[in-house]
Subunit: 218 residues, 2 copies
């Protein structure tokens, strides 16, 4: 399995890039890695890599996710493919972009341990980014917003059990607008997507919040 590989016509390279989101320190965060090699050496970028010639796109995305976070259970969804001819200075590279949602309590040491190599950035305070990654992230964020409105994907960003204020906060971080607490509760509880565990979360000098879990969809 080593080159050279010869084709009659020029072929682009294919990669996957992953926007891995989580909620941490009261902000929506995305995992970025510092590029070890040119081009854009030392610049922050989305985790990603080449698609194996016999590897499905989703498999490549899972593999990258595992390599960067140590996690192999997460919500993973393809959202767009970027293929501008000059988006990579080396050669023509088409990248299939995925986003992944990680529960805040599953953050692996691997990613957090070496902030020189990988770090979780607040989506509102992004550093300079390699390639067309600002565009990719911006599209990932708007897709995430749609997801939160029209599906139950938010739960993927929370631990198995969570409180309603936590759920509301995550929603607000993504939607970028705040909602009335009573209306939020009413809506959530009437939709039947969550159920109380019966436990309480004692988290400070105030009344404890009830814990809920996402109901497995029928």
């Amino acid at each position: 399995m080593s080159g050279p590989y010869v084709y009659e016509y020029p072929h682009p390279a294919a990669t996957v890039d992953i926007a891995i989101f989580t909620v941490r320190d009261d902000s929506l965060r995305i995992l970025l890695i510092r590029r070890a090699n040119p081009p854009f050496q030392g610049v922050w970028a989305l985790p990603g890599g080449f698609v194996g010639i016999d590897e499905s796109l989703k498999h490549a995305a899972w593999r990258e996710l595992r390599e960067e976070t140590g996690i192999n259970a997460a919500y993973l969804e393809q959202f767009y493919t970027f293929g501008h001819p000059k988006r990579d200075p080396r050669e023509r590279i088409i990248t299939v972009a995925y986003f992944a949602l990680l529960p805040s309590d599953k953050l692996d040491v691997e990613a957090g341990s070496d902030a020189q190599r990988a770090d979780w950035f607040n989506v509102d305070e992004l550093p300079e980014l390699a390639f067309d990654h600002p565009k990719i992230i911006s599209r990932a964020l708007s897709r995430l917003d749609e997801k939160v409105v029209h599906s139950s994907a938010v739960f993927q960003l929370l631990p198995k059990t969570f409180t309603l204020p936590e759920l509301q906060r995550v929603t607000e971080l993504i939607r970028r607008e705040s909602v009335d607490r009573r209306n939020f509760r009413k809506r959530m509880l009437s939709q039947g997507l969550i159920e109380a565990t019966g436990e309480l979360a004692r988290r400070g000098a105030h009344r404890p919040a009830k814990l809920y879990r996402a109901r497995v969809s029928a």
Copy 2:
């Protein structure tokens, strides 16, 4: 610009495929072409082709659209990328799928003239299809459904002016469910997306319908 092209690592090929929709003879139709060469010679398939090495994905999609229909004005949107390693028996091919919406009155002779080569198929009566094109079409249809609910893309399937019953019919063909005429009218007119032209459409032995046009979004 001729081979051979040599790479250190194996590269997939990249194509675009387009699901081109229109409404015709009271049905939602998709343009298919009969494959002239192996694999799947003689079998119906989505129009599509290889992405030029210096060509953007969207440009490739426009080019294919133009080549197959003669049209170069239409609603065109990328919706998913298919990359299963075995989806093409020849080599690894990753295809970026687009859908296009054509107004019923702009159908070009090119596509209609030679039914041996290209034809408009009712989406409910599709022939046997090459590759993973059934999967691509199925995904295109569900995306189209979402579009119709959440955006004003439907207008792209209609002539510049149209009647409310026509608009309703197109919506019903895509959504696959019928709605009450009065409620449909009320909703459309209250949204302010259409405006009356003042003209009437005399189309048979019955009361003529008012013509409307889509309002350019503010």
